[in-house]
């Protein structure tokens, strides 16, 4: 009891109220598919750390949308993630260092935490012309990935580009872009999406901190807690599908009735993700709720395989 008091005192010192704290731990635990008995353990992960787990975040061919998605984290807030939960040793967008000092940070962190850091990759890797289509400071993405990923405790691919190649790998793919796993011939944990829901990233990291291992994955490297079921199977508009009630044109009476979007191209039946359950931006909405068909953005090669986006599968 005394210990618990201490614990909340320490939290408050860090600017976190007990109520907020339990709220996000509960939300996370539920998203991870763990029973509510895990909530206190999840809470411990956030509070009792002597050393924050080091994270090295690499940017390759990408739009930084996945980093932006991470900034939207509300469970916990991004400032708590950065200052109290993990230690982001290298991240092009948010780190304060620049130039030589930035590269020094990467080099030093890889050396200091060899075999112990989590490597997060955002973006695809150019493989054609010796990786010539993608370089940072004269070094190719391919070389950087080979060097850093091989020394990580785990490689997490944040977003469809690092997981499976994404838009860069769509035809005609002039630079020979590939996902990290493909480019290096290694196994990666994939959190696909364009961009993914940050809760699925945080849930994965917490799972790792809590249980000392990565969560269970499907054969595409995706955590089952988030990607175990299809959009279609979890869709609140599913009954309309069963009843044959379809939207055939945007702006129609059927669209304003919230009918099934299958006939205007929804890829929900072939897409595995938890969007309908968790939703985005503090549970505000998700594409089907906004009347837009799912474009299958978390599936491999979705630009080629899921398009045309507005035509029935």
């Amino acid at each position: 009891m005394e210990k618990e008091k201490e614990f909340y005192k320490r939290l408050e010192k860090k600017g976190v109220s007990r109520r907020d704290f339990m709220k996000y731990c509960t939300f996370l635990t539920a998203t991870m598919g763990l029973s509510s008995s895990f909530v206190p353990k999840v809470a411990e992960v956030f509070a009792a750390q002597a050393q924050r787990p080091p994270v090295i975040w690499l940017h390759f061919a990408e739009c930084t949308g996945c980093s932006e998605a991470l900034l939207r984290s509300m469970y916990p807030w991004i400032d708590q993630l950065l200052l109290e939960v993990i230690s982001v040793e290298y991240h092009e967008t948010i780190m304060a260092a620049a130039g030589h000092q930035a590269e020094e940070n990467l080099h030093n962190a890889v050396k200091k935490y060899n075999g112990k850091f989590i490597c997060v990759v955002e973006g695809a890797v150019a493989t054609k012309y010796n990786g010539g289509y993608g370089k940072i400071g004269g070094k190719t993405f391919l070389d950087i990935a080979k060097d850093v990923c091989s020394k990580a405790a785990a490689v997490i691919c944040m977003g469809t580009c690092s997981a499976y190649g994404g838009v860069q790998a769509a035809k005609p793919n002039p630079g020979g872009y590939k996902g990290v796993g493909d480019a290096l011939g290694i196994k990666t944990l994939n959190i696909p999406g364009c961009p993914p829901n940050p809760i699925n990233f945080v849930g994965t990291v917490v799972n790792y901190l809590l249980l000392g291992k990565l969560p269970a994955l499907d054969d595409l490297g995706r955590p089952l807690f988030a990607y175990g079921k299809s959009i279609h199977d979890q869709c609140p508009r599913r009954s309309h599908f069963e009843n044959g009630e379809f939207v055939t044109e945007f702006g129609s009476e059927e669209a304003s009735m919230g009918y099934c979007l299958y006939k205007v191209g929804c890829k929900g039946p072939e897409t595995f993700n938890n969007c309908p359950i968790v939703k985005f931006n503090d549970g505000t909405s998700w594409p089907v709720e906004a009347g837009h068909p799912c474009i299958g953005c978390s599936e491999p090669d979705f630009w080629d395989k899921m398009s045309p986006f507005y035509e029935e599968m």
Partner: protein, 477 residues
Amino acid sequence: MRAVENAVGVTIPKNARIMRNLLHGAQFQHDHIVHFYHLHALDWVDIVSALSADPKKTATLSENVSNAPWGGSAYYKSVQQRLQTFVDSGQLGHLNNAYWGHPAYKLPPEANLMASAHYIEALRLQAKTVRMHAIFGAKNPHLQSLVVGGITSVKDLTPDRIAEFLYIWKETQEFVKNVYIPDLLAVASFYKEWGAIGGTSNFLAWGDLPLSSKEPESLFMPRGVIMKRDLAGVKMAEQEKVTEHVTRSWYEKGSPKHPYKGETKPLQENPKYSPGSGKYSWIKAPRYDGEPCEVGPLARVLVAYAKGHKDIKAVVDSTLKKLGIPVKALFSTLGRTAARGLETIAIGDAMEGWVMELVGNIKSGDTKTYQSWTMPDKAMGVGLNDVARGSLGHWIKIENKKIKNYQYVVPSTWNLGPRCEKGKLGPVEEALIGTPIADPKRPIEVLRTVHSFDPCIACGVHIIDPDSNQVYKIKVL
């Protein structure tokens, strides 16, 4: 989307126009706050110095300069303690190894602590701000409700959704006025010399936020071009005058082309960096009437100011007065960073009226958000807008109902493009000339100017010492 709408000849319904404007306005609020606090502030604010601030004095300072909803010495003490705990952990994470303690940092410790606290507050606020996007656009980042012909989120046109939108808008705009702008002015007052550093010559704005179906006449942020800093000579910008050059870019040889005729033929090789007279960038070099142009908040604000835009003129004039600097100080790094904040006030304020217009429409029974259209066999179209980072143009050619050619010229292409066929410098290249560098090994001054453009790329700047000829390469992230 606007290029295709232009090509197929569809006019979107009023509600769709307003909802798009609201999403766009929210984007300006969000982007500019994040840029100021998280992508640019640490060029001016020394977080390490905040550790030695007196929380009491910080509270007084904060009360004097801003109307922030948080404050008081207990608040600043807890923020300072939090930072101290972070530093004491020995893991400096994303704040490690920056240019802390550099002599070019001018703020007293108290101002640094105040700004550091707001850096953290802004991190939380921005996650809330983008919920406006989720309300009408499904999610952020990468909204999904925008389609050719309108917007799909017709079911979100409900009183509770709109009220929620308005509530978030209000919280955000209060932050802009009570925290962001006062911080901007407080920081700027210590760095007035940056009103004479980092300027460029030509400015282009396609303009955006149409208040009716008439474009460009009804654009809230107007369209125009200013050459050689001649504000009085502001002209209407014409998309026909745009060309892209590839002489110094890693593409196959070709003459400058208008985007309708544009080609994208990347070199099929491992590209070599050849700064002398060779190719050195993946970015093409866009030119307007043959000239490089800066795009972005400064260009938009200058065009609006030159055209006598009531709201923009009011915020610009009052800011110049408060800082005691002349109009020409706008042509600078400081001016660029200030313009970003000032247009956030004007655009953010206008949003409330748009929400009311939307409510009025719905009240009168108009809930239409989509206009159907058919794809022609052959067509051409252009879509011009102005997004947070600047002017954005898309050009499409359709043949056999399919895309024949598609080109876009985006803000960072304008600002960070390399030299052109005639050897003229790109805007960022021009802006960096004459930048004073106190310590070539820690060139924070370069970061200030490059970051002030809010570049959407990572780039390299190489500094050569004219005395020793030593080359320093720095990466701007």
